[in-house]
Symmetry: C2
Subunit: 238 residues, 2 copies
Amino acid sequence: MADHVVSTERSRGGMSEQRRRRVRLEISREAARLFWAQGVDGTSGDQIAEAVGLSTRTIWRHFRSKESCAEPIVAQSVEWELATLRSWPLHRSLEEHFATEAKRLVSEISPSEQADAGLGVKMIRLAETEPALRTAWLMACDQVEHELAAVIATRLGLKPDALQVRLHAAAAAAALRVINEYVGAGLLDGTDPRELGDESFAFIADAVRTATGGAVGDPVQLDEAPAAPDEGAADRQE
Amino acid sequence: MADHVVSTERSRGGMSEQRRRRVRLEISREAARLFWAQGVDGTSGDQIAEAVGLSTRTIWRHFRSKESCAEPIVAQSVEWELATLRSWPLHRSLEEHFATEAKRLVSEISPSEQADAGLGVKMIRLAETEPALRTAWLMACDQVEHELAAVIATRLGLKPDALQVRLHAAAAAAALRVINEYVGAGLLDGTDPRELGDESFAFIADAVRTATGGAVGDPVQLDEAPAAPDEGAADRQE
DNA sequence: AGTGACACTGTCACTAAGTGACAGATATTG
DNA sequence: CAATATCTGTCACTTAGTGACAGTGTCACT
């Protein structure tokens, strides 16, 4: 029985991971709705449980705290940025890549994803005044920072934990955070989505380029990556 | 000494403000010690209260949550950066200013402040693994970001909430955060303080300059500040 | 089909975080 | 000393979150 392990192990442990994510997202949707409608403090765990049709105990089995119920929705709202960064080819400029990816995204987005995105924006807005939610938002930004570190590391031919890379990644991620907050606030205040959307991707690329002192944004030649002409003090770190 | 306005007016509502800060700091010291020794989850509010010699109820009067007990110690550990930024004269370069301020600081620091700084570094380290503390650390970084926004705004002749300013401030603050984490981790891992200290202030200035795309760091002429092409990219913000 | 293993959920009792309300202590002012 | 306002301790209380146990559905193997 030890030889055909594959199918058994998948069906047991693997099915749940997908299912678990769906349940968490479902809980997160209801929690976000309630948080937005009544505030975080004004929403109890029991209310969330009732809204999603589960027992309170089960909520705590999926989320370690009330605030963290918002995490999946918030995380999903930066997921497209993560995906875009992951798929950024070496030979393209950031502007080009963001422009094409943004266009593709707009055409492919489903109504339910759009609703989730709306909730995500609201949570980000709420995070400015509700310190409890701020953690969730900053966690998502942290994800972006790590993804950026990986991308930048390969582009500059350095390790992801080199100080130089971490600095660039942190600065660029911070810029992305500010833009997200800015765009989100604009949307919620009634600015026309099209107006913001059209300029935003060019803006994003420019912000990343600036925040990294111009080190990240241009196309990279394959033979150029490992070369990295001594940038002084930074390379003594690993 | 202060028999006049200061003492009277403060004694009613405001005397407490100074005293309150001292009490909060005292609590924060004990909390940080315990957090470091036993972890955050392993430390109860009752323990903190007992360690500092107050009732548990009084702890909650000074801090809205257990984790926030760490805030004052963490905040104090970036206080010198805030002060240094506040006192940055227009006509000096960031490198010069940081170098002189750092020297002055090293000579003036008291043993108790040194102990507090040690605790602060430990809390920052702990924040990497304890999400509960991460909020405190990021709050402190947020302070730095706001201070930076104010400084950058006056240097560029823009408003503090202009998008351009917010982007620069966020990127620079993120860079400072990474450096703080890097230096702190180095200290805790036994690196010689002198080795890190000597290069760090030059490093800081350089990081800020890079993160702002070179826009922040140079001396500013007085007549140049308000000049900035006033209807440029950043003005769509109000 | 039957049986055991396992993952998921609900129920309930419990710990710990945090608040409200009241009373006593302390300090400042007149 | 009297008057007032802030600070603190005590205690009862709400709520977030956990541990333990039991019931249910699903899959695997026979």
